[in-house]
């Protein structure tokens, strides 16, 4: 999958909100790409935009191309796109409590895409659903098909969500903060599960999270987003060892380091930006310790530094000097 210059705006009564501002990235087969950012950084909106899952209006995908299997998803009509959704690309959402329909049993909800996309009859779909539940580690799968979402615990519900997303053997799995609403021990379970499934099924995964710790453990590559932009992009090892964007650095710094003995945490001043009008400057500039004149005037573009390491900043933190002179 290849995404270029994706822009999504929301038309609200207070004016146009630019949630995603020209994002480009690609996803290779079988890899795990993490998208990291705070709330409001546009990471979820980006992923929703790929498959036009946002309510239109108020949302509008202003520009961009999403090439998948040689076709632009954004140019497809809804019927074609439907086959991709659920069929080729599976989705897992943040809150397993509300993401499952409370009035249908989980069997129905798993079988729905199977019947829709794979043309299975009810019996086959049921058999497959049992397989899937077993795959995601729900004991007593065949009995639990008739249970309703509220009869599952949070972790189990997320497993059901995963089963639904995996139902049609998708090539890509997009996981939107799948563990944020879960407890640490349950989070650990889910992460283990995803790792296993990845080994078994070999699909590509986009993993959206705000937790740098989680991302560190599972990703191949990372995208760091801020204010609707990708500010840094690197392989996992590079990013943690050598963060180039001041935001990435600050973010890593705020985490209480083990045994550092520091009495105070290092924080980022201010609060995340309210996304509004089309940004004309670096969105991080108001909170940035390195911000200089240019940052307030011009929006930095993502540029390749070396290998697979891109950053969007006018300041070179390593040299402690502006990246370009002029």
């Amino acid at each position: 999958m290849d995404v270029t210059d994706l822009k999504t705006v929301f038309h609200t009564q207070d004016g146009v909100v630019h949630a995603v501002n020209g994002i480009s990235f690609h996803l290779e087969e079988g890899e795990l790409l993490s998208v990291v950012g705070e709330s409001g950084s546009g990471k979820s909106v980006t992923m929703m935009s790929l498959l036009k899952l946002l309510p239109i209006p108020p949302a509008e995908i202003a520009s961009g191309k999403v090439m998948f299997d040689g076709k632009d998803l954004l140019q497809m009509d809804l019927e074609e796109l439907r086959k991709i959704r659920g069929g080729q690309i599976g989705f897992i959402f943040q809150d397993p409590m509300t993401s499952l329909n409370p009035v249908f049993n989980v069997g129905f909800q798993i079988m729905e895409p199977l019947i829709e996309h794979m043309g299975l009859d009810k019996k086959q779909a049921r058999a497959r659903a049992v397989e899937l539940l077993e795959l995601v580690g729900i004991p007593g799968a065949s009995d639990r098909l008739n249970d309703f979402p509220h009869q599952f615990s949070g972790g189990m519900r997320q497993r059901v969500m995963i089963a639904i997303a995996l139902a049609c053997d998708p090539k890509i799995l997009i996981a939107d903060e799948p563990t944020t609403a879960l407890d640490v021990t349950i989070q650990a379970q889910i992460i283990e599960l995803i790792k296993e499934l990845r080994k078994k099924l070999g699909m590509a995964i986009v993993w959206i999270t705000h937790d740098l710790g989680v991302a560190a453990g599972i990703s191949d590559r990372l995208l760091v987003m801020y204010g609707g932009f990708v500010v840094e992009h690197a392989k996992v090892g590079d990013l943690y060892k050598r963060p180039l964007h001041p935001y990435t650095r600050a973010l890593l710094n705020t985490l209480p380091a083990e045994g550092s003995g520091e009495t105070r945490l290092r924080s980022i001043k201010g609060s995340p930006p309210n996304i509004g009008a089309e940004p004309k400057s670096c969105p991080f500039a108001p909170r940035c310790d390195y911000a200089f004149e240019r940052c307030h005037k011009e929006n930095p573009l993502l540029e390749r530094i070396e290998g697979v390491h891109d950053v969007a900043c006018w300041w070179d933190v390593e040299k402690e000097a502006p990246r370009h002179d002029g």
Binding site: I191, G213, V214, V236, T254, S267
Partner: protein, 327 residues
């Protein structure tokens, strides 16, 4: 656990059960044992971290400490006074000395009140200040939590999550309490904001000599802020120890699992680290397992764990644990 002058708050056999009514006549058929026998004390000026997963009863315990829930059993000594047995009026007298900071900065501020009114509410209740005095006090409180004092006439929805949490803190500080229960004060905040709030809490503690009960599920934050840490599981404390002790040398298998589940923001470490993944879910507090409560999920459980309730025993240097096999 000897009583010394330093102890500010002490919980003894603290129990909060919520009755379950069922049947045609709504007879009580059981109880959700949200908090089932806690014993700990908090020394003046220290921060006790209380960690555990959702549903383990840590928030209930925190609220019970301020007697926002009626206790089923046990007592809470606040400077030697058992507040569990106080009358409503006496309790009201005590209120200014202990306050609370809440989890959800969205829900803990009344959306229809101005910031000034919100912060002044405790002053209305417990002081006889003139409105001018109140206003000045509110302004100074706002300043002390790092907010512009001109914001008094604004409404909560105009602020971001972090700012709202500051307002909540200002409200808790208004009566200059000795003891504050912080109920997951950073859980709903963005990573970059969490640090700001934690720093603020620490600053205030230093400045005013406060005592905190810091409830959180975020082990790394607790590690940063707390002096001692108590780990809760299913209505009980399974381990309590000074933080270095607890983090470097956890005794209880649950504490060990919990610590290993926390991801480390370092891919190198993550690659090599061995995670203890617990099986299954937390049992229902309405019907906790017999014996050790953790026995159903414990990787090292033996036969007697399913039968005998482990005793709350002292271990190591100032630590306590409730496990048959911890050493």
């Amino acid at each position: 656990m000897t009583a010394d002058a330093e102890t500010l708050v002490r919980a003894k056999n603290l129990k909060v059960h919520f009755p379950i009514h069922a049947g045609i006549f709504r007879r009580q058929v059981g109880a959700v044992k949200a908090v089932d026998g806690l014993n700990f004390d908090i020394k003046r000026g220290e921060t006790l971290g209380l960690v555990g997963e959702s549903g383990c009863g840590k928030s209930t315990a925190g609220r019970a400490m301020l007697r926002l829930y009626e206790l089923t059993d046990g007592q809470i000594d606040f400077e030697g006074v058992d507040i569990a047995g106080l009358s409503k009026n006496d309790l009201r007298e005590m209120r200014p000395r202990m306050q609370m900071i809440f989890q959800d900065p969205q829900a803990c501020l009344n959306p229809r009140m101005t910031v000034g009114d919100i912060i002044a509410e405790p002053l209305d209740e417990h002081t006889k200040m003139s409105s001018k005095e109140k206003r000045d006090k509110v302004k100074s409180l706002l300043e002390s939590v790092g907010m512009n004092p001109d914001y008094v006439n604004r409404y909560p929805h105009e602020f971001s999550g972090g700012q709202r949490q500051r307002i909540g803190i200002a409200r808790a500080l208004a009566l200059e309490p000795d003891f504050i229960v912080c109920d997951e004060p950073i859980a709903a905040l963005d990573v970059s904001i969490q640090a700001q709030v934690v720093n603020l809490l620490q600053d205030i503690q230093d400045r005013m000599g406060l005592t905190y009960l810091f409830i959180s599920h975020d082990l790394s934050m607790v590690r940063h802020i707390a002096d001692r840490v108590a780990v809760m599981y299913l209505g009980r404390i399974v381990e309590l120890a000074p933080k270095e002790e607890l983090y470097s040398n956890p005794k209880h298998p649950y504490t060990k699992a919990l610590l290993s589940a926390v991801p480390v923001p370092d891919p190198e470490v993550e690659k090599t680290r061995e995670h203890i993944v617990l099986k299954g879910d937390v049992p229902s507090p309405a019907n906790p397992p017999s014996g050790c409560r953790f026995s159903t999920r414990c990787p090292v459980a033996q036969k007697n764990c399913f039968v005998d309730d482990p005793e709350w025993r002292k271990i190591g240097d100032g630590g306590y644990v409730a496990c048959h096999y911890a050493e």
